[in-house]
């Protein structure tokens, strides 16, 4: 199933509370980072791509499939976009166990029952989910929850993975344990992904292309190792970490 990564075109305008999200970029990279301080509009960008922001205007296209074209009043509903969305807190379904969560989107995976079963099995293998398939989700640790959320997205055979700060709810030690799974997903599944993060290390570890958002606009674009050393981006990172200056003393 190896093929070139499909080209993703995004042109979005979305009014937010204190500024407008106004973003345009194309990418054919397998993993694109969206970096920015909190409140820069990163999550709104992902939600717009997923089809969860009805007010988003513009144009979105993945490969041959147009998802949004407001000039022609076209809006593809989220259930038809085939995205795998992994939010910060996992958002697992509390009325289903781990297996039920993983199966929540399998109906749209190709290949009939056999194909769906083999997708399910390879996802469980890559993410090492077999030991807790029958577990109640309330008994999972934070890291396990994020792996299940990732698995649920992958089992639905998405054409694009949207990872919204998938490690941010975890402590540093757990992040180190979950990050390798993200890398494995990148290597094992041929699905383009967008990683939203405010952690330079995560973007560097996973992405080969990135954009930097500030106040809803793209202020830098390129390969992580170059972008993350640009002076403006470095100052953004420092401000976010609270080393930035006298106004953030606590």
């Amino acid at each position: 199933m190896k093929e070139a990564t499909e080209r993703l075109q995004v042109r979005i305008k979305l009014p937010l509370d204190s500024f407008d999200l106004d973003v345009a970029f194309d990418t054919s990279s397998q993993a694109t980072g969206v970096f920015g301080v909190s409140g820069a509009g990163k999550t709104n960008l992902l939600r717009s791509i997923a089809g969860l922001e009805r007010r988003a205007r513009g144009y979105i296209r993945l490969g041959e499939a147009v998802w949004l074209d407001s000039s022609r009043r076209f809006f593809l509903r989220p259930e038809h976009r085939f995205v795998g969305y992994v939010p910060q807190d996992g958002l697992l379904f509390p009325h289903k166990n781990v297996r039920g969560n993983l199966l929540a989107g399998t109906h749209r995976a190709p290949g009939g029952r056999n194909g769906q079963q083999s997708t399910f099995q390879s996802v469980c293998k890559v993410l090492e989910l077999e030991p807790f398939l029958e577990r109640d989700i309330a008994t999972l640790s934070g890291g396990e929850k994020q792996r299940v959320a990732l698995g649920r997205a992958l089992c639905s055979a998405p054409r694009l993975l949207l990872l919204d700060e998938p490690l941010a709810s975890l402590d540093v030690a757990l992040r180190g344990k979950v990050l390798p799974f993200l890398r494995r997903v990148r290597e094992e599944f041929d699905i383009p992904l967008i990683l939203v993060s405010h952690e330079p290390a995560e973007v560097r570890a996973l992405c080969d292309d990135m954009i930097v958002l500030e106040q809803g606009r793209i202020v830098a674009r390129g390969q992580p190792r170059e972008v993350l050393t640009q002076r403006h981006v470095v100052s953004l990172i420092e401000r976010e970490k609270g080393w930035g200056g006298p106004w953030e003393q606590e």
Binding site: L52, F93, P94, H95, K96, R108
Partner: protein, 226 residues
């Protein structure tokens, strides 16, 4: 126990169950609409649904009586046939359903508001359309609250008196419920019967409250793979 007491108990259970069944689906739909969508005149709809809660029950009964009278909007003159509702147990069902509606809608609305809309969005991104999301995700996530709403509606229907007596009358063995039987027994000074009716009412109310508290406390059930 006297025959009229047993008749009243049986009729009350039948009427309250039928009223609950009649009300639960429209109430769920209304509650979901009020909890999840914005539309013009939403406040007006909300107020209309709440009216039976604040009107005198006899006023609601009178309104129903006028509607079902032969020249009313739901009467034989309009429908072309006689629905034969007034002064039957069916009238009691309709009256108690109308009186229970606001309580069921309110409880169900709070329940739906407690369902994280982001879980519904997650279901959408996983390929479920709006209907599938509602039936596979929203409803199961709200199931305990909806059951509690149904129990509350049932108890409201059991206790309904004013509207019921106006449209269904108080005919022993035919339309006399616990509430109207207590009223009659007390009016004619039949102490024994009033007391046994009272005990029955206490028992029903007690069980209903216990079970709705149980629903509020019990952990959600976990449905396993589809």
């Amino acid at each position: 126990m006297e025959n009229t007491t047993l008749d009243a108990l049986r009729l009350t259970l039948v009427v309250a169950s039928a009223a609950t069944l009649l009300v639960i689906m429209p109430a769920t739909a209304l509650a979901y609409l009020l909890a999840r969508s914005e539309f013009p005149l939403k406040n007006v709809l909300s107020a209309l649904v709440g009216l039976p809660l604040v009107l005198p029950p006899t006023a609601v009964g009178y309104l129903l009586l006028e509607s079902f009278a032969s020249d009313g909007i739901l009467g034989s003159g309009r429908l072309g046939f006689d629905p034969g509702i007034l002064l039957t147990w069916k009238a009691a069902v309709i009256a108690s359903a109308v009186m229970a509606l606001p309580l069921v809608v309110r409880t169900a609305k709070v329940t739906f508001e407690g369902v994280d809309p982001r879980l519904e969005m997650m279901a959408r991104t996983l390929g479920h359309g709006r209907l599938s999301t509602f039936f596979r995700y929203t409803l199961p996530l709200a199931s305990r609250g909806l059951l509690a709403a149904a129990i509350l509606g049932f108890t409201r229907a059991v206790g309904e008196f004013g509207a019921t007596v106006t449209v269904a009358g108080n005919i022993p063995g035919r339309t006399q419920t616990l509430a109207s039987a207590i009223f009659t027994a007390q009016q004619v000074g039949n102490h024994r019967e009033a007391s046994s009716l009272l005990v029955i009412s206490l028992l029903i109310g007690f069980v209903a409250i216990l079970s709705s508290e149980y629903l509020a406390r019990k952990k959600p059930e976990h449905h396993h793979a589809r």
